[in-house]
């Protein structure tokens, strides 16, 4: 930031440095109150919103559990969905037992998920955490594949492609809660998600949580102050798998079905995307990422079949240009906001926004045409994209797409100078004012 622009070279800020700040209770109370009131707010009281927020809550718990490994302990897992899925399976089997007469109310089902996640976390973690770094990443990938292969073979427990189903309404009704309505399910998920986030936040301030950071930074030195880094990694892995299992348990309650996709590579990739887009350097980043990505998953898939491609591009852009994720971008602007100087950088952003939109529009036009031609050739060359009818056997749609992409890119690059100028002015002024 010394050169007055939001340079990607600024190292990724990491959780832990500022951990001694005073902690306030009000954001937590506010969040809890918000979760309670949200589904009753007029306009947001639809089942769609309740279901969307439920999904976000599940994703947030999962993404935070993932970042307990990546951001806090420095362990990159490519198979984290294994614990989500196995937790989910244990939970759905628990629900089946409840359906068969086990006297446990449905709100306790996520505990089955936690137990399942913890059990398999310890079991599999005792192998994977023997190594750290790159090798750990490769091992998690291999073990993820192993569990997927096993899940397709052992159909009695995993139910094959169709999965295992259960009924959340056939259970002891505690306080008259039947969980027949999405609202009751929403409150169940909101409660467990809030509790899990709070517990995971508390974890970062325990001796073990702090030593996870130490092992991430310098495992060798940790050994010379009395800690066994392998043990720290295993414990972090087990706790993380337990919370992933809670998320899987919530998934089981929400959908009343758990299938092989719950533990597959796609979900492992999705949680990585969420955590990284949100920002692995801050505790709350992954929650933000989980919300944004879940929302995009739900809304984009309505409009385009190529949404996975867009996710791939988004991910690469974040890795290349904002490795600290959204949380980092926000943190970058907080000092400006505090100094009431956001308006100095705003014109630059607005100037960059227009060409960026043109560029994105042109690019996605080209992608959509290609994707349609490649995946559904039987539908022919006439299509309607962005509410415009076109025939892509003629050159115009292609030329338009290319022109928008190239022109937008050129103008975007030019507009970047304005952004830099805005930042320069803001940092100059802040230095004069002696603001932090």
């Amino acid at each position: 930031m010394m050169d007055g622009r939001p340079s990607a070279a600024v190292s990724v800020p990491l959780a832990g440095v500022a951990a001694r700040r005073g902690r306030r209770a009000w954001p937590w109370l506010l969040a809890a109150a918000g979760l309670c009131v949200l589904p009753l707010v007029p306009g947001l009281d639809s089942n769609f919103v309740r279901s969307l927020v439920s999904q976000m809550g599940i994703a947030a718990v999962f993404a935070l559990s993932f970042n307990m490994l990546l951001g806090q302990t420095g362990l990159l897992s490519f198979g984290h969905a294994v614990y989500f899925g196995l937790g989910g399976y244990v939970a759905i089997h628990g629900m089946r037992l409840i359906n068969a007469g086990l006297p446990i109310p449905i709100p306790l089902v996520p505990l089955f998920g936690a137990a399942g996640g913890l059990f398999f976390g310890v079991l599999i973690g005792s192998v994977t955490t023997k190594r750290a770094g790159t090798v750990f990443a490769m091992i998690t990938l291999g073990l993820g594949e192993l569990v997927v292969a096993a899940s397709l073979m052992l159909t009695r427990f995993f139910g094959g492609e169709e999965g295992i189903t259960a009924n959340r309404t056939r259970a002891p009704h505690l306080f008259g809660l039947t969980f027949a309505s999405q609202l009751e399910v929403y409150y169940l998920i909101a409660f467990w998600a809030f509790l899990s986030v709070a517990l995971m936040s508390a974890f970062t301030r325990t001796p073990l949580g702090r030593m996870c950071n130490a092992v991430r930074d310098n495992p060798e030195r940790a050994e010379f102050v009395g800690y066994n880094p392998q043990r720290v990694r295993l414990l972090a892995f087990a706790v993380s798998a337990m919370f992933a299992g809670v998320a899987g348990g919530l998934h089981a309650v929400n959908y009343e079905i758990v299938a092989a996709e719950a533990l597959g590579a796609a979900r492992s990739g999705a949680v990585l995307l969420m955590a990284f887009v949100g920002g692995i350097g801050s505790f709350f980043g992954p929650i933000l990422g989980a919300m944004v990505i879940t929302w995009l998953q739900v809304s984009l898939s309505d409009y385009t079949t190529a949404w996975q491609l867009y996710f791939g591009i988004l991910f690469i852009i974040i890795v290349l240009f904002a490795p600290g994720g959204l949380a980092w971008l926000i943190a970058l602007h907080l000092p400006l906001a505090r100094a009431r100087m956001l308006h100095t950088v705003l014109p630059g952003y607005l100037a960059a926004l227009a060409p960026a939109l043109v560029m994105v529009l042109g690019g996605s036009l080209l992608l959509e045409i290609n994707y349609r031609l490649a995946t559904k050739p039987e539908l022919g060359t006439r299509m309607s994209l962005f509410w415009v009818a076109m025939d892509v056997s003629r050159p115009w749609p292609w030329i338009a797409g290319l022109a928008m992409l190239a022109g937008g890119f050129y103008a975007f690059r030019r507009s970047w100078a304005l952004v830099a100028a805005g930042w320069h002015a803001a940092s100059e002024r802040m230095r004069e004012d002696g603001a932090p």
């Binding site: 090798v135 291999g142 292969a149 996710f311 290349l320």
Partner: protein, 316 residues
């Protein structure tokens, strides 16, 4: 029985050599640059698709050379404009970048060639039975695959032993930190090694495309196995990668041919497991069915017995 053993061994060696073509490129890149190229199997896939596309235009033989060159160029571009950029953020972003790239390449392949397998046919010049033993005939293209991969190893060996860059790479294999001390033009060396590694993967893709189904998810299917090979062989060890490739190739091929289950074996031994037993399902799985799991089971065993891998010396 002898027939089965001979052909399974031959097929296993071909598959193993294919795995080694991939794992050797991965090892070279990793040893030099410390980057685990997650998109390595994607480059393999691009090789298969490019050879199909280029082959349609100019025929198979030019494509055998052109496709790897094209993919090598793409590799150079990836290093120059992507990896080099994220390098300063550390190894995790590098790994994530290649992970994102693998994801993107799969989607791009879908966009270019659709989701269904393409008809990546063996060229007519190679489409004949080389010899027939007992009742099974051995196709010529498999012998060709073997010849190409062995030819590649000889070339690789000569480059490593006889050229300057080969010496540098060898030094990097044993003493990774020395690369930093090479002084001039390390980025250039990195780019070339990365391009060469991806080109090797693409060459493997060209010849592997015949043996495996050419689909957009072939990278996702093969990638984890290549990683397993590298971990079992020991990170940074070419010799270890060779042993692990052949072992996994042969074991998997034999397993596919074995249509028996634990249940059958136990029955021979006079032990019966009832249908109601919790073990029934586990025991009734045919070994052939479990073949895809073999690499991963080996991985777990290796980690328990010898976490550094067969010939590994490096910790991370």
């Amino acid at each position: 029985m002898l027939e089965l053993v001979i052909f399974s061994t031959l097929n296993g060696v071909v598959y193993g050599l294919l795995l080694f073509m991939l794992s050797s490129g991965l090892t070279l890149i990793f040893s030099m640059m410390g980057v685990l190229n997650f998109a390595h199997a994607s480059m393999f896939m691009l090789g298969a698709y490019f050879s199909y596309q280029v082959g349609k235009l100019v025929g198979f033989w030019p494509a055998l050379v052109l496709a790897p060159l094209l993919v090598g160029l793409i590799g150079a571009g990836v290093e120059r404009y992507g990896l080099r950029h994220v390098h300063r953020h550390g190894h995790v972003p590098e790994l994530l970048f290649t992970f994102g790239l693998a994801y993107l390449i799969e989607e791009i392949v879908v966009m270019g060639w659709g989701r269904n397998p393409i008809e990546n046919r063996v060229p007519a010049t190679l489409d004949f039975p080389l010899f027939t033993l007992f009742t099974t005939s051995y196709p010529a293209y498999k012998a060709f695959m073997m010849a190409v991969s062995i030819g590649m190893f000889v070339a690789l060996y000569l480059v490593l032993k006889r050229t300057r860059i080969g010496l540098i790479i060898q030094a990097a294999l044993t003493h990774p930190s020395t690369v930093a001390m090479l002084g001039h033009n390390v980025p250039q060396v990195f780019m070339r090694v990365f391009a060469a590694g991806t080109a090797l993967a693409a060459l493997a893709g060209v010849i592997g495309g015949f043996a495996l189904l050419t689909t957009p998810n072939m990278a996702a299917a093969l990638g984890p196995i290549v990683f397993v090979v590298v971990v079992i062989g020991g990170l940074g060890s070419l010799g270890g990668a060779l042993i692990a490739s052949l072992a996994i190739g042969i074991m998997q091929t034999f397993a596919v041919a074995l249509d028996v289950s634990l249940l059958d074996l136990l029955r021979h031994a006079g032990v019966a497991i009832g249908r109601e037993s919790a073990l029934f399902e586990l025991a009734s799985i045919k070994i052939a069915q479990a073949a895809p799991m073999i690499p991963y089971v080996l991985l777990v065993l290796m980690l328990i017995v010898r976490p550094k891998g067969l010939l590994g010396t490096r910790e991370t």
